[in-house]
Point group: C2
Chain length 357, copies 2
């Protein structure tokens, strides 16, 4: 039903590499601390309280759509959420991130992780998605963390700079690693299928930390599990977006996962990314999120460059190269609204010029 | 004199892309916390006290050469050291890094930075270098931080994850940025020339954080200054090594700086790096430093892959893709000694095989 409703929306058409009227745009972390309304809510509720309350989740997910004019909403949640019912106790600490009560250290810890039915255990997520899918003027993107990134939190016990413990564990206990990744992949598939069943029109898998790996390690320890995930989602017929930071040298392998849209960070020009990925994968990105703190003329010039590179072929969604960053003073929401207008106006121009040729 | 003495040393020959008997090897941060002797010294002296005392600096610089059998020493110091006499007040805080008393925020702050004669103001560095150059059984590498990385500390006031303030400053005050980079580049040239005059047989410029930039920003805001530095050092006739982390997409531009050896991190295979750099630039790297915490058979297998890729052409120095990382338990110095032996033995084998063809 949802899929039918959004079939001709420019965001989904771009994801499918079909021609569009103008360049679709959304922003990673478009709901968050830069918004005064979000900051006000966070004075009363923790991040997890917002995630677990369908009404608050709805409000926060919807706000940037109404404020910025973006072409997609993304479910407001945290990649840690689906780990809770697996038996992982954690909190999200202010200015730190997820902190795990008992990190995964042994094969027995892996065996103890439970698979479950997300429709039941995460019913509050599905409730929010159903309401959003019904009301939103744009498609809703569901999301999950990728197994490597989730495993790094589970093994390190929290955020980590060099992911040393994760890598050492992966190298020294390859069998337990494979079982952990299998379980996380299986749960990711269930969770994303449930989100699509509830009304998500696309899904994005965040593998934020996978860029710390050498390509050889990615191929051996991550790629098979990502292939399993995207392979098990293909029949849903929704765009499968895969995103990581600093993945320029992994893109050739990431293209083999079955993802249909690749999130690209700002370190690699979109034209180069496209060349590596081949023609059938759409690209999403890749403005340096720090540019939101630059003077408007420079930000606008760089955005136009990204649009020119991206819109040179079908299959382009404008986004940042990472999420909107927290800083003081925060990004002005008006800047993002203006950027959205620029993408739509200049995107139309570039596409018309391309057709004229 | 020093240059003459080391002319035929395999480290310098490899830097010049000349044939060698076996693959030379050294490790970034080969003097540091993983060594029990270093940890014992640090109980009595701060990092800066060691840097500023020629005798301690000598001891710490020399220790890994005697213990590990590496083919080069690198001056023990900190990239912040040459900023002191420019008028920058800072401390190096345990578990944090450099913290600047009054960060650079205005064009006036840039104007206030003083150029000086490093032979006088940093006489203790030159004293240590002279003694090391006289006594060491291998060539000594001098070093300095690159202007972008130094500027990021000066502007942020300390270590930073996203370098937001640095980028915003660079974009919004391009003239002041250029003057800051010019000054840091001029001081880097003076400092490295003085180190070579004192006996350093090669120099390495550390641009640790430059990988946070999009290629377009690197070209506009960094490349001209790096070109100025290496251009002003070429007449010295010593290898000019340039290193950054996560620079895969910057390598093509970094190759235009005039550096003669490029430090490569583990995210990009050496063969790909070579293809991007072209034939005349030697490569140094690129084992993931996390592998020092992996079981020996896996570490050895990965080291052999690096050697096979690197030694496929002349101009290869084995190293890690970044410095030796601090962790508990720390890297065992015996592992590094064993790795050094492996590089020399397997390097000889690979080179002989190549010649046999």
């Amino acid at each position: 039903m949802t899929l039918e409703r959004w079939k001709d929306h420019r965001f989904l058409k771009a994801c499918r590499c079909e021609p569009v009227d103008t360049v679709p745009v959304w922003y990673m972390r478009q709901a968050g601390r830069y918004q005064p309304e979000y900051r006000a809510l966070r004075e009363r509720y923790s991040l997890l309280e917002i995630c677990r309350n369908p009404e608050l989740c709805y409000t926060v997910t919807r706000l940037p759509v109404d404020q910025l004019g973006v072409d997609a909403a993304i479910l407001f949640s945290d990649i840690m959420v689906p780990l809770g019912p697996m038996g992982v106790e954690f909190e999200i600490k202010e200015h730190i991130g997820p902190v795990i009560a008992r990190p995964v250290r042994t094969p027995a810890d892996v065996a103890a992780l439970q698979l479950y039915a997300p429709e039941d255990e995460l019913a509050y997520v599905m409730t929010a998605i159903r309401q959003l899918a019904r009301d939103l003027p744009v498609p809703l993107i569901g999301f999950a963390g990728a197994p490597f990134t989730l495993a790094s939190y589970l093994i390190e016990g929290g955020p980590s700079r060099h992911h040393l413990r994760t890598k050492a564990w992966m190298w020294s206990q390859p069998d337990a690693w494979a079982r952990l990744m299998d379980k996380l992949a299986a749960m990711t598939v269930r969770y994303l299928r449930a989100q699509v069943a509830a009304g998500a029109a696309a899904v994005q898998v965040f593998d934020s930390w996978v860029g710390c790996l050498a390509p050889a390690d990615y191929r051996r320890f991550v790629l098979p599990h990502m292939r399993a995930i995207f392979g098990a989602l293909t029949d849903l017929g929704v765009p499968l977006i895969y995103f990581g930071v600093g993945t320029a040298t992994l893109l050739a392998d990431m293209a083999e996962t079955g993802a249909t849209v690749m999130g690209i960070d700002w370190r690699i020009p979109l034209a180069d990314a496209r060349r590596i990925l081949g023609g059938r994968t759409a690209v999403q990105g890749n403005l340096d999120p720090a540019l939101l703190f630059a003077p408007w003329p420079l930000l606008a010039a760089r955005a136009r460059s990204v649009i020119e590179e991206g819109a040179a072929a079908d299959g382009f969604i404008f986004n940042l190269g990472w999420g909107i960053l927290h800083h003081h003073p925060p990004v002005d929401p008006a800047t993002l609204a203006r950027l959205t207008e620029l993408v739509h106006a200049y995107g139309r121009e570039v596409l018309a010029r391309r057709e004229g040729r």
